[in-house]
Protein backbone atom coordinates (compact mmCIF):
# COMPACT_ATOMS: atom_id res chain seq x y z
CA UNK A 1 0.00 0.00 0.00
CA UNK A 2 2.89 2.33 0.74
CA UNK A 3 3.98 2.03 -2.89
CA UNK A 4 0.62 3.36 -4.05
CA UNK A 5 0.78 6.32 -1.65
CA UNK A 6 4.14 7.37 -3.06
CA UNK A 7 2.90 7.29 -6.67
CA UNK A 8 2.91 10.66 -8.41
CA UNK A 9 -0.50 12.01 -9.54
CA UNK A 10 0.61 11.79 -13.19
CA UNK A 11 1.12 8.06 -12.69
CA UNK A 12 -2.59 7.68 -11.85
CA UNK A 13 -3.46 9.50 -15.06
CA UNK A 14 -1.30 7.18 -17.15
CA UNK A 15 -2.69 4.15 -15.33
CA UNK A 16 -6.22 5.33 -16.03
CA UNK A 17 -5.46 5.97 -19.70
CA UNK A 18 -3.84 2.55 -20.01
CA UNK A 19 -6.79 0.91 -18.31
CA UNK A 20 -9.26 2.68 -20.58
CA UNK A 21 -7.29 1.65 -23.66
CA UNK A 22 -7.62 -2.00 -22.71
CA UNK A 23 -11.04 -2.08 -21.11
CA UNK A 24 -13.16 0.15 -23.37
CA UNK A 25 -13.02 -2.29 -26.32
CA UNK A 26 -13.82 -5.15 -23.96
CA UNK A 27 -16.70 -3.25 -22.43
CA UNK A 28 -18.02 -2.31 -25.86
CA UNK A 29 -17.80 -5.95 -26.99
CA UNK A 30 -19.58 -7.05 -23.80
CA UNK A 31 -22.39 -4.53 -24.27
CA UNK A 32 -22.68 -5.51 -27.93
CA UNK A 33 -22.84 -9.21 -27.03
CA UNK A 34 -25.72 -8.56 -24.64
CA UNK A 35 -27.98 -7.12 -27.35
CA UNK A 36 -30.89 -9.09 -28.67
CA UNK A 37 -30.52 -10.63 -32.11
CA UNK A 38 -34.18 -9.78 -32.87
CA UNK A 39 -34.63 -6.29 -31.41
CA UNK A 40 -31.01 -5.13 -31.24
CA UNK A 41 -31.67 -3.87 -27.70
CA UNK A 42 -29.89 -4.58 -24.41
CA UNK A 43 -29.77 -6.80 -22.38
CA UNK A 44 -30.01 -10.54 -22.94
CA UNK A 45 -27.71 -13.55 -22.58
CA UNK A 46 -29.21 -15.14 -25.67
CA UNK A 47 -25.98 -14.83 -27.68
CA UNK A 48 -24.08 -16.70 -24.97
CA UNK A 49 -26.80 -19.33 -24.94
CA UNK A 50 -26.52 -19.68 -28.70
CA UNK A 51 -22.77 -20.22 -28.45
CA UNK A 52 -23.02 -22.71 -25.62
CA UNK A 53 -25.69 -24.73 -27.40
CA UNK A 54 -23.84 -24.76 -30.69
CA UNK A 55 -22.30 -28.18 -31.41
CA UNK A 56 -19.64 -26.67 -33.67
CA UNK A 57 -18.42 -24.47 -30.84
CA UNK A 58 -17.67 -27.44 -28.60
CA UNK A 59 -16.31 -29.55 -31.44
CA UNK A 60 -13.86 -26.92 -32.75
CA UNK A 61 -12.89 -25.90 -29.23
CA UNK A 62 -12.10 -29.54 -28.46
CA UNK A 63 -10.11 -29.95 -31.71
CA UNK A 64 -8.05 -26.81 -31.07
CA UNK A 65 -7.50 -27.70 -27.44
CA UNK A 66 -6.33 -31.22 -28.29
CA UNK A 67 -4.13 -29.82 -31.05
CA UNK A 68 -2.60 -27.43 -28.51
CA UNK A 69 -1.96 -30.26 -26.05
CA UNK A 70 -0.39 -32.43 -28.75
CA UNK A 71 1.75 -29.51 -29.94
CA UNK A 72 2.90 -28.86 -26.37
CA UNK A 73 3.73 -32.53 -25.81
CA UNK A 74 5.66 -32.87 -29.09
CA UNK A 75 7.47 -29.55 -28.55
CA UNK A 76 8.53 -30.49 -25.03
CA UNK A 77 9.66 -33.93 -26.15
CA UNK A 78 11.78 -32.43 -28.91
CA UNK A 79 13.04 -29.24 -27.33
CA UNK A 80 13.72 -30.13 -23.68
CA UNK A 81 16.33 -32.84 -24.39
CA UNK A 82 17.76 -30.82 -27.30
CA UNK A 83 18.20 -27.60 -25.33
CA UNK A 84 19.49 -29.58 -22.35
CA UNK A 85 22.15 -31.21 -24.50
CA UNK A 86 23.06 -27.92 -26.15
CA UNK A 87 23.56 -26.29 -22.75
CA UNK A 88 25.52 -29.26 -21.46
CA UNK A 89 27.67 -30.35 -24.36
CA UNK A 90 27.28 -28.01 -27.33
CA UNK A 91 27.06 -24.46 -25.97
CA UNK A 92 28.53 -23.11 -29.21
CA UNK A 93 25.38 -24.27 -31.02
CA UNK A 94 23.11 -22.13 -28.84
CA UNK A 95 23.33 -18.96 -30.97
CA UNK A 96 22.64 -21.05 -34.09
CA UNK A 97 19.49 -22.50 -32.56
CA UNK A 98 18.44 -19.09 -31.25
CA UNK A 99 18.76 -17.78 -34.82
CA UNK A 100 16.73 -20.70 -36.22
CA UNK A 101 14.09 -20.02 -33.57
CA UNK A 102 13.57 -16.55 -35.00
CA UNK A 103 12.67 -17.86 -38.46
CA UNK A 104 8.97 -18.46 -37.67
CA UNK A 105 8.78 -14.77 -36.74
CA UNK A 106 10.34 -13.74 -40.04
CA UNK A 107 8.56 -16.11 -42.43
CA UNK A 108 4.86 -15.17 -42.78
CA UNK A 109 2.47 -18.03 -41.91
CA UNK A 110 1.00 -17.95 -45.40
CA UNK A 111 4.42 -18.58 -46.91
CA UNK A 112 5.16 -21.24 -44.34
CA UNK A 113 1.93 -23.16 -44.94
CA UNK A 114 2.45 -23.21 -48.71
CA UNK A 115 5.95 -24.54 -48.16
CA UNK A 116 4.80 -27.11 -45.64
CA UNK A 117 1.94 -28.31 -47.86
CA UNK A 118 4.43 -28.87 -50.68
CA UNK A 119 7.01 -30.42 -48.36
CA UNK A 120 4.60 -32.94 -46.82
CA UNK A 121 2.77 -33.72 -50.06
CA UNK A 122 3.03 -37.43 -50.57
CA UNK A 123 3.34 -38.18 -46.89
CA UNK A 124 0.97 -40.85 -45.49
CA UNK A 125 -2.75 -40.07 -45.40
CA UNK A 126 -2.97 -40.43 -41.61
CA UNK A 127 -0.48 -37.59 -41.32
CA UNK A 128 -1.28 -35.30 -44.25
CA UNK A 129 -5.07 -35.45 -44.06
CA UNK A 130 -5.39 -35.28 -40.30
CA UNK A 131 -5.05 -32.18 -38.09
CA UNK A 132 -3.24 -34.36 -35.50
CA UNK A 133 -0.46 -34.93 -38.04
CA UNK A 134 0.04 -32.06 -40.44
CA UNK A 135 -1.29 -29.22 -38.30
CA UNK A 136 0.70 -30.31 -35.24
CA UNK A 137 3.87 -30.45 -37.35
CA UNK A 138 3.21 -26.89 -38.51
CA UNK A 139 2.29 -25.68 -35.03
CA UNK A 140 5.48 -27.13 -33.51
CA UNK A 141 7.42 -24.92 -35.94
CA UNK A 142 5.20 -21.96 -35.13
CA UNK A 143 5.68 -22.50 -31.38
CA UNK A 144 9.44 -23.08 -31.72
CA UNK A 145 10.54 -19.53 -30.77
CA UNK A 146 8.21 -19.33 -27.78
CA UNK A 147 9.17 -22.75 -26.52
CA UNK A 148 12.89 -22.27 -27.21
CA UNK A 149 13.29 -18.89 -25.55
CA UNK A 150 11.23 -19.93 -22.50
CA UNK A 151 13.17 -23.16 -22.02
CA UNK A 152 16.49 -21.48 -22.76
CA UNK A 153 15.83 -18.92 -20.02
CA UNK A 154 14.96 -21.77 -17.65
CA UNK A 155 18.15 -23.67 -18.41
CA UNK A 156 20.23 -20.52 -18.00
CA UNK A 157 18.76 -19.97 -14.55
CA UNK A 158 20.11 -23.27 -13.22
CA UNK A 159 23.63 -24.71 -13.08
CA UNK A 160 23.02 -27.47 -15.63
CA UNK A 161 26.57 -28.81 -15.51
CA UNK A 162 26.87 -29.14 -11.76
CA UNK A 163 23.37 -30.56 -11.27
CA UNK A 164 23.94 -33.11 -14.03
CA UNK A 165 27.34 -34.15 -12.70
CA UNK A 166 26.03 -34.34 -9.13
CA UNK A 167 23.20 -36.57 -10.31
CA UNK A 168 25.54 -38.75 -12.42
CA UNK A 169 27.96 -39.18 -9.54
CA UNK A 170 25.08 -40.43 -7.40
CA UNK A 171 24.38 -43.15 -9.94
CA UNK A 172 21.67 -41.58 -12.11
CA UNK A 173 21.75 -42.12 -15.87
CA UNK A 174 21.16 -39.27 -18.36
CA UNK A 175 17.41 -39.93 -18.80
CA UNK A 176 16.89 -40.22 -15.03
CA UNK A 177 18.86 -37.01 -14.50
CA UNK A 178 16.74 -35.21 -17.08
CA UNK A 179 13.43 -36.38 -15.64
CA UNK A 180 14.16 -36.25 -11.90
CA UNK A 181 16.65 -33.40 -11.57
CA UNK A 182 16.56 -31.09 -14.57
CA UNK A 183 12.89 -31.09 -15.53
CA UNK A 184 11.54 -30.17 -12.07
CA UNK A 185 13.94 -27.24 -11.98
CA UNK A 186 12.86 -25.83 -15.34
CA UNK A 187 9.16 -26.50 -14.69
CA UNK A 188 8.22 -22.82 -14.67
CA UNK A 189 9.99 -22.28 -18.00
CA UNK A 190 8.36 -25.36 -19.51
CA UNK A 191 4.97 -24.13 -18.29
CA UNK A 192 5.59 -20.67 -19.72
CA UNK A 193 6.45 -22.17 -23.13
CA UNK A 194 3.46 -24.50 -22.90
CA UNK A 195 0.94 -21.75 -22.17
CA UNK A 196 2.30 -19.53 -24.91
CA UNK A 197 1.98 -22.49 -27.28
CA UNK A 198 -1.57 -23.05 -26.05
CA UNK A 199 -2.47 -19.43 -26.73
CA UNK A 200 -0.92 -19.55 -30.22
CA UNK A 201 -2.60 -22.78 -31.26
CA UNK A 202 -5.99 -21.71 -29.89
CA UNK A 203 -5.84 -18.58 -32.02
CA UNK A 204 -4.07 -19.80 -35.18
CA UNK A 205 -6.13 -19.14 -38.31
CA UNK A 206 -3.99 -18.93 -41.45
CA UNK A 207 -2.44 -22.39 -41.48
CA UNK A 208 -5.63 -24.17 -40.44
CA UNK A 209 -7.66 -22.28 -43.05
CA UNK A 210 -5.27 -22.85 -45.94
CA UNK A 211 -4.84 -26.51 -45.10
CA UNK A 212 -8.63 -26.86 -44.79
CA UNK A 213 -8.93 -28.02 -41.19
CA UNK A 214 -11.87 -26.85 -39.11
CA UNK A 215 -10.52 -25.42 -35.89
CA UNK A 216 -11.80 -22.96 -33.28
CA UNK A 217 -10.46 -19.79 -34.94
CA UNK A 218 -12.21 -20.82 -38.19
CA UNK A 219 -15.49 -21.29 -36.32
CA UNK A 220 -14.94 -17.86 -34.72
CA UNK A 221 -14.37 -16.32 -38.11
CA UNK A 222 -17.47 -18.03 -39.57
CA UNK A 223 -19.68 -16.78 -36.74
CA UNK A 224 -18.21 -13.33 -37.09
CA UNK A 225 -19.28 -13.23 -40.73
CA UNK A 226 -22.78 -14.55 -40.17
CA UNK A 227 -23.98 -13.59 -36.65
CA UNK A 228 -23.01 -10.22 -35.23
CA UNK A 229 -24.05 -10.52 -31.54
CA UNK A 230 -23.05 -14.16 -30.93
CA UNK A 231 -19.70 -13.32 -32.56
CA UNK A 232 -19.09 -10.74 -29.83
CA UNK A 233 -20.06 -13.28 -27.17
CA UNK A 234 -17.75 -15.84 -28.74
CA UNK A 235 -14.90 -13.31 -28.86
CA UNK A 236 -15.26 -12.61 -25.15
CA UNK A 237 -15.47 -16.31 -24.34
CA UNK A 238 -12.29 -17.10 -26.27
CA UNK A 239 -10.70 -14.15 -24.55
CA UNK A 240 -11.71 -15.61 -21.18
CA UNK A 241 -10.26 -19.01 -22.13
CA UNK A 242 -6.93 -17.42 -23.04
CA UNK A 243 -6.94 -15.36 -19.86
CA UNK A 244 -7.65 -18.41 -17.73
CA UNK A 245 -4.59 -20.09 -19.26
CA UNK A 246 -2.46 -17.00 -18.63
CA UNK A 247 -3.67 -16.67 -15.04
CA UNK A 248 -2.77 -20.26 -14.29
CA UNK A 249 0.68 -19.54 -15.71
CA UNK A 250 0.94 -16.49 -13.48
CA UNK A 251 -0.17 -18.52 -10.46
CA UNK A 252 2.31 -21.34 -11.01
CA UNK A 253 5.11 -18.99 -12.13
CA UNK A 254 4.76 -16.77 -9.07
CA UNK A 255 5.11 -19.70 -6.69
CA UNK A 256 8.18 -21.07 -8.45
CA UNK A 257 9.65 -17.67 -9.24
CA UNK A 258 9.67 -16.61 -5.59
CA UNK A 259 11.69 -19.69 -4.74
CA UNK A 260 14.05 -19.31 -7.66
CA UNK A 261 14.89 -15.76 -6.62
CA UNK A 262 15.75 -16.92 -3.12
CA UNK A 263 18.00 -19.63 -4.57
CA UNK A 264 19.74 -17.05 -6.72
CA UNK A 265 20.20 -14.85 -3.66
CA UNK A 266 21.73 -17.68 -1.69
CA UNK A 267 24.41 -18.07 -4.31
Amino acid sequence: MKGFRRMAPSAYVWLLLGGLYFFIPLLATLLFSLKSNQTGKCCTLASYGWVIHNGDFWHTLKVSFLLALETIAVSLLIFVPTIYWVHLRLPRLRPVIAFLALIPFVVPPIVMVVGLLKFYKGSPEWFYAQPWGFLVAAYVILAFPYMFFSLDAGFRAIDVHTLTEASNSLGASWPVTLVKVILPNIRAAALAGSFLTLAIVMGEFTIANLSAFHTFPLFLQYVNETQAYPAAALTLMSFAITWAAMLSLLFVGRKRGARASVIAGAR
Partner: protein
Protein backbone atom coordinates in the same frame (compact mmCIF):
# COMPACT_ATOMS: atom_id res chain seq x y z
CA UNK B 1 48.62 -52.42 -2.27
CA UNK B 2 47.23 -49.06 -3.39
CA UNK B 3 43.45 -48.67 -3.34
CA UNK B 4 43.32 -45.74 -5.78
CA UNK B 5 45.92 -45.53 -8.52
CA UNK B 6 46.32 -42.89 -11.19
CA UNK B 7 48.73 -44.36 -13.71
CA UNK B 8 50.56 -42.00 -16.07
CA UNK B 9 47.49 -39.83 -16.71
CA UNK B 10 47.64 -37.44 -19.64
CA UNK B 11 45.02 -34.93 -20.70
CA UNK B 12 45.45 -32.19 -23.28
CA UNK B 13 43.06 -29.33 -24.05
CA UNK B 14 44.17 -28.23 -27.48
CA UNK B 15 47.80 -27.25 -27.15
CA UNK B 16 47.63 -27.02 -23.37
CA UNK B 17 48.83 -29.99 -21.36
CA UNK B 18 46.43 -30.06 -18.44
CA UNK B 19 47.88 -33.30 -17.12
CA UNK B 20 51.30 -34.47 -18.11
CA UNK B 21 51.76 -37.98 -16.80
CA UNK B 22 50.66 -37.84 -13.19
CA UNK B 23 51.11 -40.85 -10.96
CA UNK B 24 49.32 -41.25 -7.65
CA UNK B 25 48.98 -44.23 -5.35
CA UNK B 26 46.67 -43.90 -2.38
CA UNK B 27 45.98 -46.52 0.27
CA UNK B 28 42.50 -47.38 1.49
CA UNK B 29 41.13 -44.88 3.98
CA UNK B 30 43.81 -42.30 3.22
CA UNK B 31 43.22 -38.62 2.59
CA UNK B 32 45.18 -37.00 -0.24
CA UNK B 33 45.01 -33.33 -1.14
CA UNK B 34 45.86 -32.14 -4.62
CA UNK B 35 47.27 -28.69 -4.06
CA UNK B 36 48.34 -26.12 -6.57
CA UNK B 37 47.63 -22.80 -8.22
CA UNK B 38 44.78 -22.24 -10.68
CA UNK B 39 45.32 -24.12 -13.93
CA UNK B 40 47.78 -26.63 -12.51
CA UNK B 41 45.52 -29.57 -13.45
CA UNK B 42 44.22 -30.59 -10.04
CA UNK B 43 40.52 -30.27 -10.93
CA UNK B 44 41.15 -32.01 -14.26
CA UNK B 45 42.66 -34.92 -12.36
CA UNK B 46 39.66 -35.08 -10.02
CA UNK B 47 37.20 -34.95 -12.92
CA UNK B 48 39.02 -37.84 -14.59
CA UNK B 49 38.70 -39.88 -11.41
CA UNK B 50 34.99 -38.98 -11.20
CA UNK B 51 34.51 -40.00 -14.83
CA UNK B 52 33.28 -36.60 -16.06
CA UNK B 53 36.19 -36.48 -18.49
CA UNK B 54 38.35 -39.10 -20.19
CA UNK B 55 42.15 -39.14 -20.15
CA UNK B 56 44.07 -39.09 -23.43
CA UNK B 57 46.37 -41.73 -21.98
CA UNK B 58 46.88 -43.54 -18.71
CA UNK B 59 44.62 -45.45 -16.37
CA UNK B 60 42.55 -45.01 -13.23
CA UNK B 61 42.43 -48.08 -11.05
CA UNK B 62 40.21 -48.44 -7.99
CA UNK B 63 40.64 -51.48 -5.78
CA UNK B 64 42.44 -53.33 -8.56
CA UNK B 65 39.77 -52.59 -11.20
CA UNK B 66 40.47 -50.34 -14.17
CA UNK B 67 37.63 -47.79 -14.27
CA UNK B 68 39.13 -45.48 -16.88
CA UNK B 69 36.32 -46.13 -19.40
CA UNK B 70 33.52 -46.65 -16.88
CA UNK B 71 30.64 -44.11 -16.99
CA UNK B 72 30.46 -41.70 -14.03
CA UNK B 73 27.14 -43.13 -12.82
CA UNK B 74 28.69 -46.60 -12.57
CA UNK B 75 31.85 -45.65 -10.68
CA UNK B 76 30.54 -45.34 -7.12
CA UNK B 77 32.39 -42.10 -6.50
CA UNK B 78 30.86 -39.59 -4.10
CA UNK B 79 31.55 -36.04 -5.13
CA UNK B 80 31.18 -32.67 -3.42
CA UNK B 81 31.42 -29.75 -5.80
CA UNK B 82 32.80 -26.25 -5.47
CA UNK B 83 29.48 -24.72 -6.58
CA UNK B 84 26.42 -25.43 -4.47
CA UNK B 85 25.08 -28.51 -6.15
CA UNK B 86 22.03 -29.52 -4.14
CA UNK B 87 18.96 -30.22 -6.23
CA UNK B 88 16.81 -27.11 -5.65
CA UNK B 89 13.53 -28.99 -6.01
CA UNK B 90 14.36 -31.41 -3.18
CA UNK B 91 14.66 -31.00 0.58
CA UNK B 92 17.90 -31.79 2.39
CA UNK B 93 16.49 -35.23 3.20
CA UNK B 94 15.44 -35.90 -0.40
CA UNK B 95 18.84 -34.78 -1.66
CA UNK B 96 20.63 -37.24 0.61
CA UNK B 97 18.11 -39.94 -0.28
CA UNK B 98 18.50 -39.46 -4.05
CA UNK B 99 21.45 -41.80 -4.61
CA UNK B 100 19.88 -44.50 -2.44
CA UNK B 101 16.63 -44.32 -4.43
CA UNK B 102 18.58 -44.69 -7.66
CA UNK B 103 20.17 -47.80 -6.16
CA UNK B 104 16.73 -49.20 -5.35
CA UNK B 105 17.17 -49.35 -1.57
CA UNK B 106 13.94 -49.88 0.35
CA UNK B 107 12.21 -47.04 2.17
CA UNK B 108 13.11 -48.13 5.71
CA UNK B 109 16.77 -48.52 4.85
CA UNK B 110 16.80 -45.15 3.10
CA UNK B 111 15.23 -43.33 6.02
CA UNK B 112 17.65 -44.89 8.48
CA UNK B 113 20.72 -44.04 6.42
CA UNK B 114 19.57 -40.50 5.65
CA UNK B 115 18.84 -39.86 9.33
CA UNK B 116 22.27 -41.15 10.35
CA UNK B 117 24.11 -39.07 7.78
CA UNK B 118 22.24 -35.86 8.50
CA UNK B 119 23.04 -36.36 12.18
CA UNK B 120 26.68 -37.05 11.26
CA UNK B 121 26.95 -33.68 9.51
CA UNK B 122 25.00 -31.97 12.30
CA UNK B 123 21.87 -31.23 10.28
CA UNK B 124 19.33 -33.62 11.76
CA UNK B 125 17.09 -30.64 12.51
CA UNK B 126 17.15 -29.32 8.93
CA UNK B 127 16.07 -32.40 7.01
CA UNK B 128 12.86 -30.82 5.72
CA UNK B 129 14.49 -27.62 4.47
CA UNK B 130 15.02 -26.78 0.82
CA UNK B 131 18.50 -25.67 -0.35
CA UNK B 132 17.46 -22.01 -0.50
CA UNK B 133 16.57 -22.23 3.19
CA UNK B 134 20.10 -23.37 4.10
CA UNK B 135 23.29 -21.32 4.47
CA UNK B 136 26.28 -22.03 2.22
CA UNK B 137 28.00 -24.09 4.93
CA UNK B 138 24.83 -26.09 5.59
CA UNK B 139 24.39 -26.75 1.87
CA UNK B 140 27.92 -28.13 1.63
CA UNK B 141 27.27 -30.31 4.67
CA UNK B 142 24.17 -31.74 3.00
CA UNK B 143 26.20 -32.23 -0.19
CA UNK B 144 28.76 -34.16 1.86
CA UNK B 145 26.04 -36.31 3.43
CA UNK B 146 24.56 -36.91 -0.02
CA UNK B 147 27.93 -38.01 -1.39
CA UNK B 148 28.50 -40.32 1.59
CA UNK B 149 25.01 -41.84 1.44
CA UNK B 150 25.90 -44.09 -1.49
CA UNK B 151 28.87 -45.48 0.44
CA UNK B 152 31.27 -44.44 -2.31
CA UNK B 153 34.52 -46.24 -2.94
CA UNK B 154 36.29 -42.90 -3.14
CA UNK B 155 35.12 -39.51 -1.88
CA UNK B 156 36.04 -36.65 -4.20
CA UNK B 157 35.97 -33.07 -2.97
CA UNK B 158 36.49 -30.27 -5.46
CA UNK B 159 37.31 -27.12 -3.47
CA UNK B 160 34.14 -27.59 -1.41
CA UNK B 161 34.97 -24.77 0.98
CA UNK B 162 36.07 -22.06 -1.40
CA UNK B 163 32.69 -20.30 -1.48
CA UNK B 164 32.41 -20.13 2.31
CA UNK B 165 33.60 -17.49 4.73
CA UNK B 166 36.83 -18.04 6.67
CA UNK B 167 35.33 -19.17 9.97
CA UNK B 168 32.93 -21.67 8.42
CA UNK B 169 35.73 -22.91 6.18
CA UNK B 170 37.94 -23.82 9.14
CA UNK B 171 35.04 -25.41 11.01
CA UNK B 172 33.88 -27.45 8.03
CA UNK B 173 37.32 -28.69 7.02
CA UNK B 174 37.75 -30.11 10.51
CA UNK B 175 34.36 -31.77 10.22
CA UNK B 176 35.26 -33.25 6.85
CA UNK B 177 38.41 -34.74 8.36
CA UNK B 178 36.54 -36.06 11.41
CA UNK B 179 33.92 -37.74 9.23
CA UNK B 180 36.55 -39.11 6.86
CA UNK B 181 38.44 -40.68 9.75
CA UNK B 182 35.24 -41.98 11.33
CA UNK B 183 34.11 -43.68 8.11
CA UNK B 184 37.62 -44.59 6.93
CA UNK B 185 36.80 -43.50 3.41
CA UNK B 186 39.50 -42.98 0.78
CA UNK B 187 39.42 -39.29 -0.08
CA UNK B 188 40.80 -37.10 -2.83
CA UNK B 189 40.57 -33.41 -2.03
CA UNK B 190 41.31 -30.56 -4.40
CA UNK B 191 42.27 -27.18 -3.03
CA UNK B 192 44.44 -24.19 -3.78
CA UNK B 193 44.63 -23.33 -0.07
CA UNK B 194 47.83 -24.77 1.37
CA UNK B 195 46.72 -24.28 4.97
CA UNK B 196 43.59 -26.29 4.23
CA UNK B 197 45.59 -29.06 2.56
CA UNK B 198 48.24 -29.28 5.28
CA UNK B 199 45.73 -29.30 8.12
CA UNK B 200 43.48 -32.17 7.01
CA UNK B 201 45.50 -34.51 4.82
CA UNK B 202 47.50 -37.68 5.28
CA UNK B 203 49.33 -36.83 2.06
CA UNK B 204 49.66 -33.72 -0.06
CA UNK B 205 50.54 -33.64 -3.75
CA UNK B 206 51.63 -30.24 -5.03
CA UNK B 207 50.85 -29.82 -8.72
CA UNK B 208 52.26 -27.40 -11.22
CA UNK B 209 51.91 -27.29 -15.00
CA UNK B 210 50.05 -30.60 -15.13
CA UNK B 211 52.69 -32.46 -13.16
CA UNK B 212 53.09 -33.51 -9.56
CA UNK B 213 56.02 -31.54 -8.19
CA UNK B 214 56.17 -33.39 -4.91
CA UNK B 215 54.01 -35.73 -2.87
CA UNK B 216 54.45 -36.44 0.80
CA UNK B 217 53.07 -35.97 4.27
CA UNK B 218 52.20 -32.39 5.25
CA UNK B 219 55.25 -32.13 7.51
CA UNK B 220 57.57 -33.46 4.76
CA UNK B 221 56.15 -30.96 2.32
CA UNK B 222 56.70 -28.11 4.74
CA UNK B 223 60.08 -29.04 6.08
CA UNK B 224 61.69 -30.65 3.02
CA UNK B 225 60.41 -29.09 -0.18
CA UNK B 226 61.89 -30.92 -3.12
CA UNK B 227 61.66 -28.09 -5.63
CA UNK B 228 61.80 -24.30 -5.46
CA UNK B 229 58.14 -24.19 -6.56
CA UNK B 230 57.04 -26.36 -3.64
CA UNK B 231 59.18 -24.31 -1.30
CA UNK B 232 57.50 -21.17 -2.54
CA UNK B 233 54.00 -22.59 -2.60
CA UNK B 234 53.95 -24.27 0.81
CA UNK B 235 54.25 -21.62 3.46
CA UNK B 236 56.38 -18.51 3.11
CA UNK B 237 60.01 -18.93 2.19
CA UNK B 238 63.00 -16.63 1.79
CA UNK B 239 64.80 -17.56 -1.42
CA UNK B 240 68.41 -16.46 -1.73
CA UNK B 241 70.29 -17.31 -4.93
CA UNK B 242 73.88 -18.12 -4.08
CA UNK B 243 77.09 -19.68 -5.39
CA UNK B 244 79.00 -22.38 -3.56
CA UNK B 245 82.36 -20.93 -2.47
CA UNK B 246 83.71 -23.80 -0.43
CA UNK B 247 82.14 -27.23 -0.63
CA UNK B 248 84.11 -28.49 2.35
CA UNK B 249 82.89 -25.96 4.91
CA UNK B 250 79.55 -25.34 3.17
CA UNK B 251 80.22 -21.68 2.56
CA UNK B 252 78.05 -19.94 -0.06
CA UNK B 253 78.02 -16.40 -1.43
CA UNK B 254 74.87 -14.36 -1.89
CA UNK B 255 75.54 -10.97 -3.51
CA UNK B 256 78.81 -10.64 -1.57
CA UNK B 257 77.41 -11.91 1.70
CA UNK B 258 79.09 -15.13 2.86
CA UNK B 259 77.02 -17.67 4.78
CA UNK B 260 77.80 -21.12 6.06
CA UNK B 261 75.09 -23.58 5.17
CA UNK B 262 75.74 -27.17 6.26
CA UNK B 263 73.58 -28.45 3.39
CA UNK B 264 76.13 -27.03 0.92
CA UNK B 265 78.87 -29.32 2.18
CA UNK B 266 79.93 -31.72 -0.54
CA UNK B 267 78.84 -29.48 -3.40
CA UNK B 268 81.35 -28.36 -5.97
CA UNK B 269 82.73 -24.83 -5.98
CA UNK B 270 80.87 -22.44 -8.30
CA UNK B 271 77.62 -24.42 -8.27
CA UNK B 272 74.52 -22.19 -8.31
CA UNK B 273 72.13 -22.97 -5.48
CA UNK B 274 69.00 -21.61 -3.90
CA UNK B 275 69.14 -21.12 -0.16
CA UNK B 276 65.69 -21.52 1.39
CA UNK B 277 65.03 -20.11 4.84
CA UNK B 278 61.66 -20.12 6.62
CA UNK B 279 60.77 -16.72 8.13
CA UNK B 280 60.27 -18.23 11.58
CA UNK B 281 63.86 -19.53 11.64
CA UNK B 282 65.52 -16.19 10.88
CA UNK B 283 66.70 -14.26 13.89
CA UNK B 284 66.85 -10.47 13.75
CA UNK B 285 68.86 -8.16 15.93
CA UNK B 286 69.65 -4.46 15.79
CA UNK B 287 72.74 -3.78 13.62
CA UNK B 288 75.28 -1.00 13.72
CA UNK B 289 76.97 0.24 10.54
CA UNK B 290 76.63 -1.84 7.36
CA UNK B 291 77.73 -5.07 8.97
CA UNK B 292 80.45 -7.45 7.92
CA UNK B 293 80.67 -9.71 4.84
CA UNK B 294 78.86 -12.52 6.65
CA UNK B 295 75.91 -10.39 7.62
CA UNK B 296 72.51 -10.09 5.97
CA UNK B 297 71.82 -6.46 6.82
CA UNK B 298 68.84 -4.30 5.90
CA UNK B 299 66.23 -1.86 7.13
CA UNK B 300 62.87 -2.89 8.56
CA UNK B 301 60.31 -1.80 5.97
CA UNK B 302 56.98 -3.07 7.30
CA UNK B 303 55.36 -4.83 10.25
CA UNK B 304 52.45 -7.19 9.60
CA UNK B 305 50.63 -8.32 12.71
CA UNK B 306 49.77 -12.05 12.55
CA UNK B 307 48.75 -12.63 16.17
CA UNK B 308 51.46 -14.42 18.18
CA UNK B 309 54.09 -13.34 15.65
CA UNK B 310 54.65 -10.20 13.61
CA UNK B 311 56.03 -10.51 10.10
CA UNK B 312 58.82 -8.05 9.31
CA UNK B 313 59.95 -7.17 5.81
CA UNK B 314 63.62 -6.28 5.67
CA UNK B 315 65.11 -4.55 2.65
CA UNK B 316 68.85 -4.11 2.08
CA UNK B 317 71.04 -3.65 -0.99
CA UNK B 318 70.23 -6.67 -3.23
CA UNK B 319 68.38 -8.24 -0.34
CA UNK B 320 64.76 -8.79 0.60
CA UNK B 321 63.91 -10.90 3.63
CA UNK B 322 60.80 -11.88 5.53
CA UNK B 323 61.20 -12.71 9.22
CA UNK B 324 58.65 -13.72 11.84
CA UNK B 325 59.36 -12.20 15.23
CA UNK B 326 57.40 -12.89 18.45
CA UNK B 327 54.93 -10.01 18.76
CA UNK B 328 56.14 -9.36 22.31
CA UNK B 329 59.60 -8.52 20.89
CA UNK B 330 58.61 -6.46 17.91
CA UNK B 331 58.83 -3.09 19.69
CA UNK B 332 62.60 -3.57 19.85
CA UNK B 333 62.71 -3.70 16.03
CA UNK B 334 60.74 -0.66 14.84
CA UNK B 335 60.17 0.28 11.21
CA UNK B 336 63.24 1.99 9.77
CA UNK B 337 65.72 0.29 12.11
CA UNK B 338 68.79 -1.30 10.57
CA UNK B 339 68.81 -4.99 11.49
CA UNK B 340 71.05 -7.99 11.01
CA UNK B 341 69.55 -11.37 10.12
CA UNK B 342 71.24 -14.45 11.49
CA UNK B 343 70.91 -17.53 9.31
CA UNK B 344 70.27 -20.56 11.52
CA UNK B 345 72.48 -23.59 11.19
CA UNK B 346 69.59 -26.00 11.02
CA UNK B 347 66.36 -25.73 9.06
CA UNK B 348 68.00 -24.14 6.02
CA UNK B 349 67.36 -26.00 2.78
CA UNK B 350 69.42 -25.90 -0.33
CA UNK B 351 68.26 -26.65 -3.85
CA UNK B 352 70.29 -26.83 -7.01
CA UNK B 353 68.97 -24.20 -9.39
CA UNK B 354 68.69 -26.85 -12.13
CA UNK B 355 65.64 -28.26 -10.34
CA UNK B 356 63.64 -25.10 -10.97
CA UNK B 357 60.63 -26.26 -13.04
CA UNK B 358 60.05 -24.77 -16.45
CA UNK B 359 56.98 -22.57 -16.41
CA UNK B 360 54.13 -24.03 -18.46
CA UNK B 361 53.41 -22.41 -21.81
CA UNK B 362 49.94 -21.43 -20.69
CA UNK B 363 47.82 -22.33 -17.69
CA UNK B 364 45.50 -25.27 -18.19
CA UNK B 365 41.83 -24.39 -18.00
CA UNK B 366 40.62 -24.44 -14.43
CA UNK B 367 37.49 -26.43 -13.69
CA UNK B 368 35.75 -28.09 -16.58
Amino acid sequence: MAYLELVDLHRDFGTVKALDGIEIQLGQGEFLSLLGPSGCGKTTALRLVAGFDRPDAGAIVVDGRDVTRVAPNKRDMGMVFQAYSLFPNMTAEQNVEFGLKIRGRNRAERRKRVGELLELVGLGHARGRYPHQLSGGMQQRVALARALAIEPRVLLLDEPLSALDAKVRVQLREEIRRIQLELGITTLYVTHDQEEALSVSDHVAVMYGGRIEQMGTPSEMYSSPATPFVAEFIGTMNRLEATVVDGTSGEVDHNGVRMTVPAAQGLSRGERVLVLIRPETLELEPAEGNGGPADLVGDVLTHTFLGPVTRLKVIGSDLELIADVPTSRVDALPIGMKVRARVPEVGVKLLSLQTEPAAPAAPAPAGR
